[in-house]
């Protein structure tokens, strides 16, 4: 530790070079962080999915409905703790580009299913009292400037109301729910009973069913039991864990993991190359100094450590700044109009970033450090 001042002196020997290497490394780790944020955003919550939640769709595909009568049958299955459902209404707020997706739900059970959605009790009471009421996520309400008490008209597409002009659904915003970074705060949730009683389509259907199980380790087995209940009926089902459903959805978007890993690899390789070449230049310039250190009694290992510490200090400091900037970007929230509801820089990813920063520093310094430690004093001192 007492040689740390020497490390800083060495780093300041050519300040332009040190600053440039620092900046390049900072940019690389900032980029790494942003890519990790994008990966989480694109995989649509595979990693934030509840392990004890199952999702059930119509086996024919997600646009086919499930009869609401299934809910009671599923509730009776041993090991099932809670059942709720949701349906996509497909209406449009002002313009399709506003990206407002409305889901019809059963308020009590839906909120119980997603405890990460925090809704003030008085607003929940207001929702239960008002059939036309809906609640919006904090991000959605902020993006569109909605206030509690506002009336929001939604134009129906395939779901049309029986009354009124036959197109427009009227909703009252009765509450705004909040939640941590892992909660999707972009949802528009309204009451399924309102939809079902007023729509022109056949009543008694829901889009998908959500099931909370008592024991997460039995989730797979339970999925099969439930699907068996409805086998050979005219509405066969497909049940799986929320994580598996999210993964299958993410697979449909594309192999995001491979793309992110590929780009991160290129970026880290680039910065490694820059850092290593500059480190070896720096060591070559100081050959006679290293000779002097050795003549004063520094051992081979000490010289090796000194150089490794120098490259690692630089890379970790720059990595910290880059990852810190990425963390700030993670706090900033979704920069698109609602395409990426889960926008966060995960702690594991940050830890991985720090690990990589240490690794880059060690690898970049390795070759010059080994060369310097092996250098015989007489040769080093003779070199000018």
């Amino acid at each position: 530790m007492k040689f740390l001042p020497l490390t800083f002196r060495n780093l300041l020997r050519r300040p332009v070079r040190t600053v440039l290497v620092f900046l390049a490394t900072t940019v690389a780790f900032l980029l790494f962080g942003v890519l990790m944020i994008l990966r989480v955003a694109f995989t649509m919550g595979v990693e934030v999915a509840g392990a004890d939640r199952l999702m059930m769709l119509n086996k024919m595909g997600f646009i086919q409905p499930i009869p609401v009568s299934y809910i009671e049958k599923i509730r009776a299955v041993p090991g099932v703790k809670l059942v709720t459902h949701a349906s996509w209404m497909g209406g449009i707020y002002q313009d399709p580009a506003t990206n407002v997706f409305q889901f019809a739900v059963d308020p009590e059970t839906y909120l119980a299913m997603y405890p990460e959605f925090k809704l003030p009790p008085d607003q929940k009471a207001a929702w239960l009292a008002d059939k036309q009421g809906f609640i919006a996520g904090r991000d959605l309400a902020d993006r569109l400037g909605w206030k509690v008490g506002q009336k929001i008209p939604i134009k129906g597409t395939f779901n049309r109301p029986k009354g009124g002009d036959g197109v427009t659904w009227e909703f009252n915003l009765v509450g705004i729910y909040d939640g941590g970074p892992e909660a999707d705060k972009t949802q528009f949730l309204f009451r399924w009973d309102y939809l079902d009683e007023n729509r022109t389509l056949a009543p008694g259907n829901v889009g998908w069913v959500l099931i909370k199980v008592e024991d997460a380790s039995r989730a797979g087995e339970l999925s099969k039991t439930i699907d068996k209940l409805f086998e050979n009926s005219s509405f066969e089902t497909k049940t799986d864990t929320e994580a598996a459903m999210a993964q299958s959805f993410a697979n449909q978007v594309g192999n995001i993991g491979a793309i992110v890993t590929g780009i991160s690899g290129v970026v880290l390789f680039m910065v490694l190359l820059i850092a290593a070449s500059q480190m070896s230049l720096a060591v070559r310039e100081r050959t006679n100094e290293i000779g002097a250190l050795k003549a004063m009694g520094f051992g081979d290992t000490q010289v090796l450590t000194l150089i490794l510490v120098e490259s690692t200090v630089l890379s970790v400091a720059a990595g910290a700044v880059g990852l810190g900037l990425a963390w700030l970007i993670g706090l900033g929230g979704d920069p698109t109009p609602g395409y990426m509801p889960i926008w966060m820089f995960k702690t594991q990813d940050m830890a991985l970033g720090f690990g990589l920063a240490v690794l880059v520093g060690l690898i970049a310094g390795a070759l010059p450090a080994i060369n310097a430690s092996r250098l015989p004093i007489s040769v080093a001192l003779r070199r000018v």
Partner: protein
């Protein structure tokens, strides 16, 4: 003119001596190549997707959907409405029959071969005019489906990427079996990701009664679009939106293409900063290594501007090498790579190939040159400002 001769001579010296600084030059080249690979690679995704979508649409076809629907998935048209639409002016006629196909569009769950997880694949119900409406479609394997049966024909891309969609196999959805009897080609367009069946059979299988989602009409000519549209808007029996098919698909590709391009340029922009620093360091080291040589040139009477140009020139040559290398790697690595993604308007799959176009390669190389230029500027100024007497004394 001596100025240019000087500049040219100094640039040549710089370039001839690059091999002496190979490892340092390599850093600049590989850094810039890395950025170009990523930029061109990511943009080729957007380019390929757009191409598949735009290929699907033609200016002489119009798609009719219920008013307010932004995609076929959210549209719905009743049988009587469809009969009215088919009578509209501007539609091409084949004898007494309108060349217009009333269609139903649903999404079914089919496993993807590569991951063996479920995928949303479009299943389109078509009527017997389908080939007259879509003359570009050719059956390349097996035969056309027989109307009135459950037989389906499958797009080439869907047949390759999803399980159980080869000729002779059968798709099971709900209680219905759909035997695959043929594979069609549609010039690489998005429709090659679809499965087509008789719309009447599909209405039954999905309990939709006599309802449809869209009418695809072949127009007499691209110019008849207005006639067609005006006729429909003036008719009180129907309440529909009419779009030129080419515009419809272009709109559908906009969200994803924009998002991918935004990410591509964002990532390449940040990486570019890193590569500029790499080039800067390379040229900075070159100036440091050549201090005495540069000072000698200056003492011999070379001006400071030619010296500056030579550093910039060298930086641009390295950048060009990086750009070409990166472009070549992107072309070899990505061009034609087949994949599929989600069309967010219909939540269903669209297969496409990455397209590394000459336009993208040009963009990559121009970007490389810009990085080289910026990276070279400060070392060049430094070289030009080198005090001769002091620099000559340096070792």
């Amino acid at each position: 003119m001596s100025f240019f001769k000087q500049a040219f001579a100094v640039i040549l010296i710089g370039i001839y001596t690059i091999p002496q600084r190979l490892s340092s030059a390599g850093v600049a080249i590989i850094g810039i190549a890395g950025v170009v690979v990523v930029l061109v690679g990511v943009l080729s995704i957007a380019e390929g997707f757009e191409k598949a979508m735009v290929n699907a649409g033609r200016a002489d076809r119009a798609i009719v959907m219920r008013q307010g629907a932004d995609s076929e998935l959210s549209s719905g048209l009743g049988g009587p409405e469809v009969d009215v639409i088919k009578q509209a002016a501007g539609i091409q006629k084949n004898g007494a029959v309108s060349v217009a196909s009333a269609e139903m569009f649903v999404v079914v769950d089919v496993n993807r071969r590569s991951t063996n997880t479920g995928s949303n694949v479009p299943l389109r119900g078509v009527d017997s005019t389908l080939l007259a409406v879509r003359p570009e479609v050719k059956i390349v394997e097996g035969r056309m489906l027989n109307f009135g049966t459950n037989e389906v024909v499958v797009g080439r891309a869907a047949s390759e990427q999803f399980s159980g969609l080869r000729v002779g196999e059968s798709l099971k959805s709900g209680q219905t079996q759909w035997p695959v009897v043929g594979v069609f080609d549609a010039n690489g367009a998005a429709s090659e990701t679809e499965i087509w069946c008789d719309v009447r059979t599909l209405q039954g299988a999905f309990r939709r009664g006599n309802s449809y989602q869209s009418v695809l009409a072949k127009l007499e000519s691209p110019a008849s679009f207005d006639t067609f549209k005006d006729w429909l808007s003036a008719n009180p029996q129907v309440n529909v939106d009419v779009k030129r098919e080419s515009d419809y698909y272009r709109e559908q590709s906009r969200t994803l293409t924009g998002l991918v391009q935004g990410i591509g340029w964002g990532v390449a922009g940040l990486m570019g900063l890193g590569a500029i620093i790499g080039a800067w360091l390379t040229m900075y080291s070159a100036v440091v290594a050549r201090t005495r040589e540069i000072a000698t040139l200056r003492a011999l009477g070379f001006g400071s501007f030619p010296v500056m140009l030579s550093i910039l020139g060298e930086s641009m040559v390295l950048a060009l090498a990086g750009g070409v290398l990166g472009g070549a790697l992107a072309y070899v690595g990505f061009n034609g790579f087949q994949t599929s993604t989600m069309n967010w308007q219909t939540f269903s799959q669209v297969a496409f190939g990455f397209a590394v176009t000459p336009h993208l390669l040009t963009q990559g190389i121009v970007y490389a040159l810009i990085m080289g230029l910026i990276g070279g500027v400060f070392p060049a100024i430094r070289a030009a400002r080198l005090p001769i007497s002091k620099a000559l004394r340096e070792l």
